[in-house]
Amino acid sequence: MNRRKFLTILGRAGVGSALGSSKGAEASPACFPYYPDSWGVLHDTTRCIGCRRCEAACQKVNNLPEPKVPFTDLSVTEKKRHTTAYEWTVVNKYEVNGKPYFRKLQCFHCNDPACASACFARCFSKLPNGAVVYDGSQCVGCRYCMVACPFYVPGFQYDLAWDPLVQKCTFCEPRLKEGKLPGCVEACPVDAITFGRRSDLIKIARARMAENPGRYVDYLYGEYDAGGTAWMVLAPAAGGAPVPVDDPQGAGTEFKQLGLDTHLGSQPMGQLTYGALGAVPMIVAFWPVLFGGAWAMTKRREAMAKLEQEKIIKDAKDDLAAAVDAAVRKIGETEGEGAAERARQAMTEALKAREAQNSGDGHGEEK
């Protein structure tokens, strides 16, 4: 096995393990559609009256702290508020084609959540009932989930010095388990948020579009956006204005006016990073081996080169000694022992002097 082959296998193993850990493994390697019986909520912005009852109910059922501004003060809907660690849902007012409309913000409970894909501590999980839930026991507070979320939903307990956690809408998962509706849904006085099976809600949304021509934009936000979400949004139509052709999502500007991003694409956010992030555990495990091996190989090559060099030097030295011996023997035969001894001495000194000069100059040994 050479180095290239090794890296290829490592890469494949990384992608494979990432897919194995995502929920898409059983469905398809490209995109996870959604759990067939999962719950969802359809938010009809043409119905919402901005009464903030959902916010009050959320605070009550989740035992969140009392807000600074009471829920009866509706002026706060004018601001473009975001969800925070202590306000898991907020209702904002938006101008759509010149008319005021309200939209409720909360976790969209993606089919294939970006927050879960970004969390290396595996705090987030998508449950088969549709909820994206967070377990903070392993949370390190890196807030990668907040960066990854395309809807800017998770909030962080910045006020806590010790063990701050990420907080967001839980889809009232504990209540769902008890067979109760989410707090906000139960509190809505106009059914602007309709709870049901996600598959039913898609049909209901389509039926509303068909039965009320001109009332809704012919696009269900969240059916495919960001790989599909459990919470979906219907937007009020401009009243016959044509849909711009350069909009890849086919929606007009109504969703943008409602503060929704129509350019998230239909692939889960995680698809962009599963390959790379899936390789992280593999890298953690194999990098010591990989670089340790590379280091050992380099060391060994250096040692081998040194040995070879030393051998060449030894050979050269031996050759020189032999030549000196031969020359001394010849002098001894022709001119007697005394001359031979002097010649040997002279040659040895000359060689020593040259060696000393060479090493002093810093040049390599030269024979």
Partner: protein, 332 residues
């Protein structure tokens, strides 16, 4: 009707008719004459070029010219809205069942029913349906027709216009389709039809309860006392004089079924809670829960009829806060 020639011809025709003594026994009471001198009502036959020996076709339409002319006058509109070429000729001159070159091959059906009419350089014509469906957007009609009531395109809807007196013979029909029915006979048939039209008489508000106490959900708020009578009277008062509404509201209970929907029209309709459960039923998630059903009905009608008060978020106008909460509120 600004064309001198047409006016002259019409005048001559009228004079000719005036000179002739009316046929004995076949003269019903006449309709009010039109200002333009055109017939007060006409029957629009499905004129076609193809041979149609059995006269198999849709029932012709009886068109009341006077009523439409008066509406034009009232709303400051011109004859050109319908007579879009500027010539006061019959629609079937250019628009036949098969379509003709003169009518840009637009068939009679499309000319009368099209709702999406392409813009053009000269006058944009209106079809019967396009103009009538515009009428329901006016404030008096919008309460029911914007959100709550969707116009059914059924048999009853067609026969409001497609109706003609029973005294029309098969021969009349054949001639009408061929375009050879004498004008006088046409007018006679139309007049007879129009005079026999009976406008609907709505049920009187007095038949219904004056006040309805909605208390099935009362909890945080006191029960809502809904003034049923004043709502019915207000809605009825707006449309009793409206001939278009009267023509299409074919049942005495038509007004009632806007709110008392999805059940047969009756003087004793079922309660809202019969179908709308207090919490959403997982089997029918498309059906609003009871509280939402009330709010959606009331709010959408108030919004569409531009009733400024109460605001959607002003809860206590319709149902007062219960005493303990009221006390707690005052303490705050």
């Amino acid at each position: 009707m600004r064309n001198g020639t047409t006016l002259f011809l019409l005048a001559v025709t009228l004079l000719a008719f005036a000179a002739c003594p009316p046929a004995p026994g076949a003269a019903p009471a006449a309709l009010e004459p039109t200002d333009s001198g055109a017939p007060s009502a006409i029957v629009i036959f499905p004129v076609g070029a193809k041979a149609n020996p059995k006269a198999a076709a849709m029932q012709p339409v009886t068109f009341n010219h006077v009523v439409h002319e008066k509406w034009m006058e009232r709303t400051g509109k011109d004859c050109i809205v319908c007579h879009h070429t500027g010539d006061a000729v019959a629609c079937t001159t250019c628009h036949t069942q098969e379509g003709k070159l003169e009518g840009a091959h637009i068939t009679l059906y499309d000319a009368m029913h099209a709702t999406k009419i392409a813009p053009r350089t000269d006058t944009k014509p209106a079809s019967c349906v396009s103009c009538h469906s515009q009428q329901i957007t006016q404030r008096d009609c919008a309460g029911c027709h914007t959100t709550l009531v969707r116009n059914a395109r059924n048999e009853a809807w067609c026969t409001v216009c497609h109706t003609v007196t029973r005294s029309m013979t098969a021969e009349d029909m054949q001639q009408g389709i061929a375009g050879t029915l004498p004008e006088r006979r046409n007018e006679q048939l139309a007049t007879e039809t129009e005079l026999s039209r009976k406008m609907v008489t709505y049920w009187k508000a007095t038949k219904a309860p004056q006040k309805v106490v909605i208390d099935s959900l009362a909890g945080k708020y006191e029960p809502c006392v809904f003034n049923h009578k004043s709502h019915v009277l207000s809605l009825m008062g707006r449309i009793t004089e409206n001939k278009l509404a009267s023509a299409f509201h074919t049942e005495p209970a038509t007004l009632c079924v806007t709110c008392h929907h999805n059940s047969p029209a009756s003087a004793t309709p079922p309660k809202c809670a019969s179908c709308h459960s207090p919490t959403i039923d997982p089997a029918t998630p498309q059906r609003p829960a009871l509280m939402a059903a009330f709010h959606l009905q009331c709010m959408s009608c108030h919004k569409d009829m531009k009733v400024a008060r109460p605001r959607n978020t002003d809860c206590t106008t319709c149902h007062k806060l219960r005493a303990p909460e009221r006390a707690a509120n005052q303490a705050n």
